[in-house]
């Protein structure tokens, strides 16, 4: 039997070879990847023979093969393709990366791991996913792409940061909740990742579970985001250009009252409080000024150019890039724009058989001009445009008025024609004509220069043992410059003497890491052991600021620090940063049996300079287990469930993101007083706080259970369930005031849980010539404070609004910073309802209320409305976050649509200035209560709001924050290879992108996406722009 088989085989071989010999053709061509880049080293085999060749550095190959034969193209990491020759002489072939391949590699911190054996909850984004997102800040590119990461822009100002929370809010406060960013092994703070250029990024990995993040020990509690930049590939020099330009416009404007409506409401308010009408003839006021139209730019220009060159030989490879971005803001564009230039050089060199040297270096320069106050009730163009009365003209054209006060006697700002910008005589305080305001800020900007890089030397001592030493650093310079001319914006906002100031800051952070990796295979046992040691120092540096007053100039362009200004007209400030140091030892074991049973164990010991003598060091252990069920012998290969990996783990990580020296009672200055009649200050010293040598790590333990699967061949599903518990949350302890210290000592005061489910589902299929893929993710999150130190039953929230004070509160059983205030129960329609509203003892609850006032819920039933009646009104943390990406390509065309959103949160809509009685209203106010039966949710308007309808924090201010946003739509067309190659290009692709085209939401403010230390506080957030761009992608 055996003999027969062998005989047949030999016979066929001979037959084939004879046949082949007779009809062989010379086939040549080029193999390239999805980006059109040549792939060297692809193995090309004539099917059924041993005859093979490989593509060269330029991806070219040539082989003799039977004219009716088949070529098999294979390369690690790409799907193998069998291509029938059909007599052709030239076959150019695109190899598709096997994104779902078991060969895919994931960056796990201090190394990589095959995806098939990864046991943690790690989400990845690859360069090809990033390429289609118009370059902005990197956080924006992550939004909606990975499950369990909540991202909300803090402003629509170009270049503005976003707020990122990995698996919920881990601790109290803002900065302590930022994830740890590690760029090519260098720890950079979240605020400082603006230097990254999107197209330089090879991959981003988000380590979500504690057991994965534990390798970063003390700083990993809030999640770790690993960024790997691109490296060169050996082979032909590749030049890649990507550029686009486009125009932005506001996606939405508010509906504000016009002058006639405004006049009528103001009269009504005044009369209701016993006053006289303010305007005698409201209809004569007409439509008035549309302040929003005055500040919004519907064609803000934006462009981006990126050029990269990469290549190398077998021993040395390099990747270098240049980028330039410029973006105008949609609000008051002359004082809102952003510019970034960056440069990168990454290279790797094989020094000898043993030694490899590599380095990465990125430099960026950013300049940002901002509108000043955003998301603030205290002025700025947005707040002014919303609150200013529509009866004031943008420019006062009436010569009689323009020559009278206040225009005649003050240094008012004038337009190009010399006419003064209108000054409101009705709405005052910080609300000023936004066009005039813009003219006073022309000389203001922020800048930053960042240099981030690392260098490593690796020695492959044996084929199993490697030693790597890495030195990394980040050098950051940043500052701002401001010229304020003499000006008169209003009676409240005016400057009598000009000033020119600048602040310059520098910080340096470095780290050194030594890692020993042993990796070996014993039969089916795969073992990798990593031992590491690290030292980290950051916050080295300081800064200074200087301001000169009374420069002998009036235009910002003439400002100079070289003017000889008297010492008495200068002010300066200088400070040192306080160093933060960590010393660490860490170890990791990865073990698997035949890639079927998986184990990862990590332990890290960190010492931090931020803790007291009694608790300087902390140890953070973790483990993960995995089982690839479908690898079991009993699992028969089938078309239903192709892959199933069950995994789970537990780990503890830390957080030392608190101010320095909080465990010590320091005697510090700043408790000053002025003696003598010459106004000189004597610095006073005092104990700032009480000692707390027991201050210790805030610990976050996390259990993660999940599975990864592929079913029906085309579907991928990953599900994770987690419970994250933070204990001993570090926060200033609110001690009694009679102790007499000015700074509250830090203490471990609270515990908090985050529970959630994350789901990522993908489907990819080829229908004829159409490639179709859809990827969705959704995460559910529940945040609950489980313990607050006994001396206070709650912690006053971090968000406040004007004179309301805190509008949130943190208390056991509620989510962190939940909205807290009065609950309304409709509006009193008549006097009878006021008197009828009594508690069980018959006490009238709101005896002083008038018809048209809110009926407040008397929660405690004591017959009066007091602070004790406040209750929790909802959370600002979205319960659900989701994203959906659709990709289609057909021949040269490709189409992508991406939508993202959040649900289950409330937004505080505080766009109107409460203490400015005459501030304008949104048109909702037209539906106010004006008599019995007219409204049950919008109270009467009066200048004497004794019921606190508008002054009290209540559910009246809260709105549903759910939204779904069509974030990105892109349509591209790639020229055929032949056409491209005619001009020497390997790829020419043109595309049209629309950003932020549609947002589905019930929210009445500009934009439901509101980041910041506390999500969902809208005091006039700079809204996200809608942009349409045209771009080109070229490769040579």
């Amino acid at each position: 039997m055996k003999f027969t088989k062998l005989f047949v085989f030999c016979f066929l071989s001979i037959l084939f070879s004879v046949y082949a010999h007779a009809q062989d053709v010379n086939v040549s061509g080029k193999v390239y990847d999805e980006n059109g880049l040549p792939i060297p080293g692809v193995s090309i085999l004539v099917k059924g023979t041993t005859k093979a060749t490989a593509s060269d550095f330029n991806g070219n190959y040539a082989i003799k093969a039977p004219a009716k034969g088949t070529l098999v193209f294979s390369f690690i990491g790409y799907s193998t393709v069998q291509e029938s020759i059909n007599g052709r002489n030239r076959i150019d072939l695109k190899l598709i990366a096997e994104s779902l391949s078991l060969q895919e590699v994931v960056v796990v911190g201090y190394g990589t791991q095959k995806k098939s054996v990864v046991t943690g909850a790690i989400s990845s984004i690859r360069s090809k996913d990033l390429e289609k997102i118009p370059a902005g800040r990197i956080e924006q590119a992550l939004q909606g792409r990975v499950s369990g990461v909540t991202i909300a822009a803090s402003s629509g100002q170009p270049g503005a940061t976003s707020t990122i929370r990995v698996r919920g809010v881990t601790t109290f406060g803002d900065s302590g909740n930022n994830p740890l960013w590690v760029v090519d092994g260098v720890v950079v703070d979240a605020g400082g990742i603006g230097f990254l250029n999107q197209s330089d990024i090879e991959s981003i990995e988000v380590l979500k579970d504690a057991a994965s993040a534990a390798i970063y020990g003390t700083r990993a509690a809030t999640g770790v985001i690993l960024v790997t930049t691109k490296k060169g590939k050996a082979g032909k020099l590749t030049v890649n250009y990507n550029g686009f330009s486009g125009f932005s416009s506001p996606a939405k404007t508010l509906h504000l009252l016009n002058a006639t409506q405004y006049g009528a409401l103001l009269n009504e308010k005044s009369v209701a409080a016993g006053g006289s009408p303010i305007f005698s003839n409201v209809s004569a006021l007409g439509v008035g000024t549309d302040w929003q139209k005055a500040i919004f730019n519907t064609s803000a220009y934006r462009y981006s150019h990126e050029l990269s060159i990469s290549g190398g030989s077998e021993n040395s490879t390099f990747y270098t890039s240049l980028g330039l971005q410029d973006q105008e803001g949609i609000v008051s564009t002359e004082i809102s724009n952003y510019n970034k230039k960056n440069f990168r050089l990454n290279s790797t060199h094989k020094l000898s058989k043993i030694f490899t040297f590599g380095q990465t270096l990125g430099f960026s320069r950013q300049k940002s001009v901002g509108i000043g106050n955003t998301n603030s009730e205290f002025g700025g163009p947005l707040s002014s445009a919303i609150n200013l009365d529509p009866t004031t003209p943008i420019v006062e054209m009436d010569p009689i008025k323009a020559n009278a006060a206040p225009y005649s006697v003050n240094l008012v700002i004038r337009d190009a024609n010399g006419n003064p910008y209108g000054i409101s005589s009705i709405v005052g305080q910080e609300m000023t004509n936004p066009l005039a305001y813009a003219k006073t800020r022309l000389g203001n900007f922020d800048w930053s220069d960042d240099v981030v890089g690392n260098a490593y030397l690796e020695a492959a001592i044996t084929s199993h043992l490697k030693v790597r030493s890495t030195f990394g650093g980040k050098l950051a310079y940043w500052g701002d410059q401001a010229f304020t001319p003499v000006n008169y914006l209003s009676a409240t906002s005016n400057v009598l003497k000009n000033s020119y100031g600048k602040n310059e800051n520098k910080s340096f952070a470095w780290n050194i890491e030594n890692i020993l990796t042993y990796s070996n295979k014993f039969g089916n046992h795969n073992l990798t052991v990593l031992l590491g040691q690290g030292a980290y120092v950051d916050n080295i540096g300081g800064g200074s600021g200087n301001t000169l007053f009374g420069l002998p100039i009036s235009d910002y362009r003439d400002a100079s620090f070289n003017f000889d200004i008297a010492q008495s007209e200068r002010s300066s400030a200088t400070y040192d940063l306080v160093e933060h140091k960590l010393t660490s030892l860490f170890a990791r074991v990865n073990y698997d049996y035949n890639e079927k049973y998986l184990f990862t164990g990590i332990i890290r010991r960190d010492g931090s300079s931020r803790f007291g003598a009694n608790n300087k060091f902390g140890v953070f252990p973790s483990f993960n287990l995995g089982w690839v069920v479908t690898k079991e012998d009993f699992w028969k290969e089938n078309n239903v469930l192709n892959l199933l990996k069950i995994r789970g783990g537990y780990g503890i990580v830390g957080n030392d993101a608190i101010p320095d020296f909080r465990y010590l009672s320091l005697v510090a200055g700043g408790n000053n007083y002025s003696f003598g009649n010459e106004g000189e200050i004597t610095t006073g010293y005092a104990n700032q706080t009480l000692d707390n040598p027991d201050l210790k790590w805030e610990e976050t333990s996390q259990t993660n259970v999940g599975f990864e699967s592929r079913f029906f061949n085309d579907f991928n599903l990953t599900v994770d369930l987690f419970k994250k518990t933070t204990t001993g949350i570090l926060r200033p302890i609110n001690i009694p005031g009679y102790v007499g210290v000015t700074t509250n000592p830090a203490g471990n005061v609270a515990d908090m849980d985050n529970k959630g489910i994350e789901l990522e589902l993908g489907y990819k299929k080829r229908f004829g010539k159409v490639n179709f893929s859809i990827n969705g993710n959704v995460a559910y999150l529940e945040n609950e404070v489980t313990y607050v130190a006994t001396d206070s039953k709650f912690i006053t929230g971090d968000a406040s609004f004007q004179s309301m004070g805190a509008v949130t509160r943190t208390q056991v059983g509620q989510s962190y910073n939940s909205f807290y205030g009065f609950k309304t129960n409709g509006i009193f329609q008549n006097e009878e309802e006021v008197t009828a509203y009594a508690n069980s003892a018959g006490v009238v609850i709101q005896p002083n209320a008038r018809p048209g006032d809110f009926k407040w819920v008397d929660t405690d039933g004591d017959g009066s409305i007091t602070d004790a009646d406040k209750q929790f009104l909802g959370s600002n943390i979205p319960k659900y976050t989701y994203g959906l990406t659709l990709n289609l390509d057909y021949k040269g065309f490709d189409f992508m649509a991406f939508a993202q959103g959040a649900a289950g949160s409330k937004i505080f809509q505080g766009l109107r200035r409460l203490d400015v009685g005459n501030a304008n209203y949104q048109t909702e106010a037209l539906g106010r209560w004006v008599g019995e039966g007219t409204s049950n949710d919008y109270p009467r308007l009066t200048n004497n709001d004794t019921n606190g309808n508008f002054g009290k924090m209540s559910d009246f201010y809260l709105e549903n924050g759910d939204y779904l946003r069509l974030k990105l739509v892109q349509l591209g067309y790639s020229l055929p290879i032949d056409a491209a190659s005619k001009i020497g290009a390997s790829k020419i692709r043109l595309y049209l992108t629309g950003e932020n085209l549609l947002t589905l939401t019930k929210y009445t403010g500009y934009d439901p996406e509101i980041g910041g230390g506390v999500f969902g506080i809208d005091k006039g957030v700079y809204p996200q722009a809608r942009t349409v761009m045209f771009g080109a992608n070229l490769q040579f």
Binding site: S425, L457, E569, T583, G670, G679, Y685, A686, L690, Y738
Partner: protein, 502 residues
């Protein structure tokens, strides 16, 4: 060559790495501040610590939550005002006597206790400081006098307060209980009596004015006695300060000839001033540290200014910066003081100016059109240098001035020639003829003379008139005389809320 370089690379890394493994690497010493154990070693440090004890006295007119703005708002002479019914919940709550443990600004409690904590710490440390015994005695006296001043405000505002004479620690801070007001008053007397002999009668004006003098401590003690109802003791000690009515006292104090000169910004530490709070623009005060220890500006100024003030061309109205329209003067005080020679210095009648077309403004909450001229912000006083212009007014404010001690002594005496002479001297200075001395006459004179200086509410409470004068404003006799204890002070502590509050 290449291998050599690699070797050095490793040596460099190894040495840095080994150095970073030790505990010393993460053991840092703070810079720019001192450890508590090492401080208070010499005269320089003791002086800096004493300055820290003085710092909270600035509360009189410093920061949004300042004593004069608050106490004015609760009296019948002023409304709270401001931008709206919720602009400053504490000041609004006191104005209509609806204060609760949550809307009472905690700083009226905390700031004084910060001064007390610093005084207590300094008093513990002073014996070990290297400096002359004379200077130690003076420092001790100043710290005790300041402690007495802070307790005097606390006991009048909150009545039932903890009496702490040693700094608390993390271990004993929750064991504290409230003392009786009598015990607090006894300690105040004790501190002042001990301080008076060691305090200087006079200080160098250029460098030390503002520091507590013998006369200042005696004036405070007299006031303390008056509030305790110890009239003979009050009269006796106040006579020490007042000397011959109308003449210069033994410390050089004398009524200013011109009443309105009291409110000239440059007229700091004038001869009528006994205890004065110092303000300067040199601190470049800014919003981010407003009201804290480094804020040296007078905030009352901007608070009482009219909103969006403007003048037409050729107007004769004063050129004023705008403010926030707090502490508008009530029609009641306006009517009472209209015919008094002190009217112009006390009331800025913007209502009249607006009616005459001489000036314009936007009315704030509870606007009456009458503004507190004594502390109105002045254009000439607007800071043009660093910091926020609104926060760098440098007008000093009085805690006690000679006209006040004259009237307090007259009140303590009740009748007689000296009482008459004291009352006459106050009236004569503004050109008013004598009236027979009676308690009613003294009460009226105090209201006219000291209007808007934050004293009226405590006067009404002391006289038992608060219920009658403030009943229409929501004042409840038996409760509203004192503030509620801030809620924070009740959480986890042994403190009890004041009666009538919850």
């Amino acid at each position: 060559m290449k291998m050599m370089k690699i070797k050095y690379f490793f040596i460099a890394i190894a040495s840095v790495s080994l150095g970073s493994c030790t505990k010393d690497f993460v053991d840092l010493t703070p810079k720019g501040a001192f450890l508590s154990d090492n401080y208070y070693a010499n005269q320089e440090q003791a002086t800096a610590a004493l300055v820290g004890v003085y710092d909270p006295i600035r509360k009189n007119t410093g920061g949004f939550e300042n004593t004069i703005a608050m106490m004015n708002a609760g009296s019948d002479d002023h409304v709270a005002g401001g931008g709206g019914a919720t602009d400053g919940a504490g000041i609004q709550g006191f104005s209509n006597h609806t204060l609760t443990s949550t809307n009472i600004p905690g700083s009226f409690w905390n700031d004084y206790y910060q001064g007390i904590f610093r005084a207590n710490t300094l008093l513990v440390k002073l014996p070990g400081v290297e400096m002359t015994e004379d200077l130690k005695e003076r420092f001790t006296a100043e710290a005790r006098a300041l402690r007495a001043i802070y307790y005097f405000d606390l006991v009048r505002m909150f009545k039932n307060v903890p009496l702490l004479l040693d700094p608390l620690t993390a271990t004993n801070m929750y064991d504290v209980e409230q003392a009786t007001p009598e015990a607090v008053y006894a300690q105040i007397e004790n501190d002042l009596l001990a301080a008076i002999p060691a305090l200087p009668g006079d200080v160098p004006a250029a460098t030390e004015s503002g520091r507590i003098t013998k006369g200042a401590a005696q004036a405070v003690l007299g006031k303390v006695y008056l509030f305790e109802g110890k009239k003979p003791e009050a009269a006796a000690i106040l006579a020490e300060v007042n000397g011959t009515p109308g003449a210069t006292n033994k410390y050089g104090n004398k009524l200013l000839a011109n009443y309105s000169d009291l409110w000239v910004v440059a007229n700091k530490f004038n001869s009528e001033s006994l205890l004065e709070v110092s303000h300067t623009s040199a601190g470049n005060s800014d919003w981010w540290f407003w009201g804290s220890g480094a804020d040296e500006g007078n905030t009352l100024n901007v608070m009482v200014g009219p909103r969006s003030y403007s003048r037409p061309t050729g107007s004769t109205a004063p050129d004023l910066p705008s403010g926030w329209s707090f502490n508008c003067i009530t029609q009641d005080l306006y009517d009472a003081i209209k015919a008094d020679p002190r009217f112009g210095a006390t009331v800025f009648d913007l209502k009249a100016l607006k009616a005459a077309g001489e000036a314009d403004y936007i009315g704030g909450y509870q606007d009456t059109g009458y503004f507190l001229n004594k502390y109105l912000p002045r254009k000439s006083d607007v800071r043009t240098g660093g910091g926020a212009a609104e926060l760098n007014y440098k007008q000093n404010s009085y805690i006690i001035r000679l006209a006040d001690t004259y009237l307090m002594e007259a009140e303590a005496l009740g009748s007689g020639a000296r009482a008459q002479a004291l009352l006459d001297a106050v009236r004569a200075r503004v050109g008013l003829l004598p009236v027979p001395v009676t308690l009613a006459a003294i009460k009226n004179e105090r209201r006219m003379e000291l209007a808007g200086e934050g004293l009226r509410f405590f006067d009404l409470v002391r006289w038992g008139d608060a219920g009658a004068k403030l009943g229409s404003r929501g004042f409840i006799v038996g409760t509203s005389e004192i503030f509620p204890i801030p809620s924070r002070e009740l959480q986890g502590t042994k403190l009890k809320q004041n009666p009538g509050y919850n």
